[in-house]
């Protein structure tokens, strides 16, 4: 029988639309004012932190709507913006500087809905306000650092092998090593090749000048750049966490750029200051003659200073700095032969020689690693600059076992600690400088205005289109309108479901456009049905033919639009990407609702029975 859908098909339509609708629901609930607590520097947010926060808020008379502890962070929802500010201050004061306390707007999705994976659409910066930075990593500097390290390596290696060279320098052609005769050059080339597989050596001798030139291989060059980028991302991420911004974004863009987005931040000057602030590492000898108890009560020996360990407890260190973190080139967590965790550190050549000298005289003595960081206090100096607070902590104390050179390991750490230390050492400073190539600040009022404008356009456009369809196609128009509404709900649902999808202003424009273009599918089908009726087909035949003939047209037309959306997605950044995403989702859902969705209703009403007249 014509125009009858099997039960499973009707069910499928209903289920798909129900799922889309279900995941669109969280968008109806709006947002709660919330305070977010994240641990920094080794601290941990636990149930006890949670109860401490609750106690503080109760004592201040602030009602807690909901308090959630998840993924090591605490989110406390309060009534309104005023209470939120009070709560933030109170919590920050109570918890101290081991925690970052930030203002947040948390989706007010009910818990049962959240438990089923429901969450509202994420809004782009243009809709909620904030700062966007596009930063470029200075790769020239990263490569220069590497080649300089190689120059020092070659020097030591050649000396150790007793191959005499006339000079090594970092020249325009690469690392240029000069020799007195061809034979030494050949020896050196053979030897160096066996030592550094990642370098390419070329003989550039002219006349009586014997030159060997070394350049990083393409693979190695790529690896250097990749590492520089990754390391800078880690560093920036650590710093952004210190900023106390809710839901910041730090992600790579292409081969040399990093995007940093800070929603809700308006003061770019402050953001920039912190992004460029440095944390660093210093190595000091532990003052073993000092009485820690006495020092803790104020009697610190001259030439020494009292510090706190990260895990608690005082320790007295000699003031003289053995080595600063500027010389650290890399740090990786690893395991020794007894599978005990350790951190291997590589220094640059200068650091290596300094370190080798000081450790020679201190074998058997404990050495401390001091972590220094400048943190924004939130206050300003008289001249308007940000007041920074210096925070110093001892992150490890280890006994020097032997004279150390450029590469050494720090042991006596737990597994997690070694991972952390390696990260901190690497994250201390940026391996290569980054500079801002693009910066956008959107005020929160502008964001709200953008949403308002977009919604207005959507409501007006939608109202006119729905009215027209109803008047022009009557019964079938009503079905098309149902499909259109379902389509919009599904776009919202799918946007909420996909974790990476972000709603932007052009995204809203994309949705509005979908409303106008999505009727195309139904118009094509309905016009076809009318045509078939005019040509004298029976009603059932006309419906069948109408849907059948329009299908390939709709598919072709939509596939090509989808292709342009895909290209837009590939080349676009930020907001344009947002538009492309909504457009693609809109195309997929509108094809589904306008073809399968409406057919299911049409079949249910008119299919498989004698119909005298169609309402079309």
């Amino acid at each position: 029988m014509l125009n009858k859908y099997p039960m499973w098909k009707n069910l499928m339509v209903m289920i798909i639309i129900a799922i889309g609708g279900f995941y669109a629901i969280p968008n109806l609930f709006g947002e709660d004012h919330a305070v977010q607590v994240v641990a920094t520097r080794g601290a941990e947010v636990t149930a006890s932190t949670q109860s401490a926060v609750n106690d503080v808020l109760v004592s201040k008379g602030i009602a807690v709507k909901r308090s959630e502890l998840e993924n090591g962070q605490l989110l406390v929802r309060v009534g309104n913006g005023e209470e939120q500010l009070l709560a933030k201050e109170a919590i920050a004061e109570a918890l101290g500087d081991k925690f970052t306390v930030a203002l947040n707007l948390a989706p007010a999705t009910p818990e049962w809905l959240e438990a089923m994976g429901g969450s509202p659409m994420k809004l782009g910066l243009d809709l909620r306000g904030g700062v966007h930075f596009l930063m470029e990593v200075d790769m020239g500097e990263a490569v220069r650092k590497m080649t300089e390290a190689k120059v020092a390596d070659f020097r030591t290696d050649l000396r150790a092998e007793r191959i005499r060279y006339a000079g090594i320098r970092n020249g325009a052609r690469g690392i240029e090593i000069k020799f007195r005769d061809a034979e030494t050059l050949a020896n050196a080339e053979r030897f160096l090749k066996s030592r550094s597989a990642d370098m390419v050596f070329t003989d550039r001798s002219t006349g009586s000048d014997y030159f060997l030139v070394a350049n990083p291989s393409d693979v190695y060059l790529k690896q250097i750049k990749e590492e520089a980028l990754q390391q800078n991302i880690t560093t920036l991420r650590n710093r952004v966490n210190e900023l106390g911004v809710a839901e910041p974004v730090v992600q790579r863009q292409g081969a040399e750029r990093i995007i940093v987005e800070l929603p809700g931040v308006q003061d770019t000057a402050r953001a920039k200051e912190i992004l460029s602030a440095t944390a660093s590492i210093e190595f000091h000898m532990v003052d073993q003659n000092a009485d820690v108890q006495a020092a803790a009560s104020g009697r610190v020996p001259a030439g020494s200073e009292l510090y706190q360990r990260r895990e608690g407890g005082p320790v007295v260190l000699k003031k003289a700095v053995m080595l600063t973190g500027d010389h650290i080139q890399g740090a990786q967590p690893s395991y020794d032969e007894y599978s005990r965790p350790q951190v291997s550190i590589n220094l640059d050549s200068k650091g290596g020689s300094i370190f080798s000298n000081v450790t020679k005289d201190n074998i058997g003595n404990p050495m401390a690693t001091l972590f220094i960081e400048y943190k924004d206090t939130g206050e300003k100096n008289a001249d308007g600059s940000v007041k920074m607070k210096k925070i110093e902590e001892v992150i490890s104390v280890a006994t020097i076992q032997a004279r150390l050179g450029r590469n050494f390991v720090i042991t006596g750490l737990g597994h997690a600690e070694s991972q952390n230390l390696a990260l901190l050492l690497r994250a201390g400073a940026l391996i290569a400088p980054v500079y801002i190539v693009e910066e956008r600040t959107i005020g929160p009022s502008l964001g709200a205005e953008n949403i308002e404008n977009g919604m207005q356009a959507m409501i007006w456009g939608m109202a006119v289109v729905l009215l027209f369809m109803l008047v022009y196609y009557r019964g079938f128009g009503l079905i098309a309108n149902l499909a259109l509404t379902a389509n919009l709900v599904m776009v919202v649902g799918v946007m909420s479901m996909i974790p990476g999808a972000v709603l932007t202003l052009p995204g809203i424009a994309g949705m509005v456009l979908t409303v106008g273009m999505a009727v195309d599918g139904n118009v094509l089908i309905y016009e076809r049905i009318r045509e078939e009726l005019r040509n004298g087909r029976s009603i059932q035949q006309a419906i069948h033919e109408g849907y059948g003939n329009a299908f390939s047209t709709i598919a072709d037309a939509n596939i090509t639009t989808f292709m342009t959306a895909l290209i837009l997605f590939a080349v676009g950044t930020g907001a344009v990407k947002g538009f492309a995403v909504t457009l693609m989702i809109g195309i997929a859902t509108s094809m589904f609702t306008s073809i399968v969705g409406t057919r299911s209703i049409v079949n249910a009403i008119w299919g498989g029975k004698r119909v005298k007249k169609l309402s079309i």
């Binding site: 098909k9 596009l134 770019t268 801002i436 693009e438 910066e439 956008r440 600040t441 959107i442 005020g443 009022s445 502008l446 205005e449 953008n450 404008n453 977009g454 207005q456 356009a457 959507m458 007006w460 456009g461 939608m462 006119v464 289109v465 027209f468 022009y472 009557r474 202003l505 052009p506 424009a509 509005v512 456009l513 409303v515 106008g516 273009m517 009727v519 195309d520 118009v523 094509l524 016009e527 059948g548 003939n549 299908f551 390939s552 047209t553 072709d556 037309a557 090509t560 639009t561 292709m563 342009t564 959306a565 837009l568 590939a570 080349v571 676009g572 950044t573 344009v576 538009f579 079309i616």
Partner: protein, 315 residues
């Protein structure tokens, strides 16, 4: 049922094809001429520089603001109203050796003297390098889109039709760009997005007509290719008018209500929808005929699509 068009038989659209093609050619040449001489008023996204959007508490005095921006750092600034008389947009060009922060600080210093309650709504800085890359990427995107479509349409239809549709798309893109050039409207990233959407939309229209042309070549055993094309265009006319109408309604809504930030996008679409609808008939179809499209060209395609596989494809 009431209908916008109630046509018996077919309208001879192609009768007007020659004069309209000439008009089209003039528009394209005019656009190219304007693009060559006046160029495009590239927005911040493509040139690099700094944009500051400000909201004054009362209608802003543009002349006074401009006077305040004649310092060395802010020389060459463009000051214009943005949406309302209280909203102002200031564009500052990239200056060698001057930081964007300094430029913004100068601007804020000047405008707070005029209105202490002025609100800084938006600040954007784009480096010249990023802008250049974006312009290259944008041009490439449009080109890639056209090539992909050419391939898809030749695969699904026939090369004459594919060439017709791509020419029509290029025609739409050039004329839309031409309008932006002639009126020196600012061309930013959202306009580029609009332009690519125009490509998609205009192709939508072309494909609907082509689909019908292919079908009619197989169905109508009699008649010249011109007749078939005329019949096809006539048959799809109601659909074209309705879809163009509903899309126009929402784009007009975007244009009027969507706010200043997507004004460029809406403008590009508004232009593109007009030009695109018209080009699917007079450029795409007409060119395919001039390239000698006829019944035989449609035969092989029929075997691999339409008919047999239809029922399984149809839900």
């Amino acid at each position: 049922m009431f209908q916008i068009l109630n046509i018996k038989g077919s309208i001879n659209f192609l009768r007007h094809a020659v004069p309209i093609s000439i008009l089209s050619a003039i528009l394209v040449l005019g656009s190219l001429g304007s693009l060559a001489t006046k160029g495009i008023n590239w927005g911040l996204d493509f040139t690099g520089g700094t944009v500051v959007e400000l909201e004054f508490s009362s209608p802003a005095n543009l002349v006074a603001i401009r006077e305040g921006l004649s310092t060395e750092e802010t020389d060459g600034a463009v000051v214009q109203n943005f949406g309302s008389s209280r909203d102002i947009l200031i564009r500052l060009p990239v200056k060698e050796g001057v930081k964007s922060d300094t430029q913004v600080a100068h601007v804020m210093e000047g405008v707070t003297q005029l209105d202490p309650t002025v609100i800084q709504k938006r600040v954007e800085f784009v480096g010249p390098q990023v802008g250049k890359e974006l312009a290259e990427q944008g041009g490439l995107a449009v080109l890639v889109a056209l090539i992909c479509i050419l391939i898809y349409v030749s695969f699904r239809f026939e090369w004459r039709l594919a060439l017709g549709s791509v020419t029509a798309l290029a025609h739409d893109v050039i004329i839309t760009l031409g309008v932006f050039s002639i009126f020196q409207l600012e061309f930013d990233l959202t306009v580029l997005a609009g332009l690519l959407t125009v490509v998609g939309y205009s192709l939508n229209d072309t494909i609907v007509v082509f689909d019908r042309i292919r079908e009619n070549f197989l169905k109508l055993r009699k008649g010249s290719p011109e007749d078939v094309v005329n019949t096809s265009i006539t048959q799809t006319m109601s659909r074209t008018i309705i879809t163009t109408g509903t899309t126009l309604v929402v784009v007009v809504a975007l244009f009027l209500k969507g706010g200043t930030m997507i004004h460029g996008f809406a403008t590009a679409l508004l232009m593109g929808i007009f030009v695109g609808t018209f080009s699917s008939i007079y450029v795409a179809s007409f060119l395919a005929i001039k390239l000698g499209i006829n019944r035989e060209h449609m035969m092989p395609v029929e075997i691999e699509k339409e008919g047999a596989d239809q029922d399984t494809l149809m839900p």
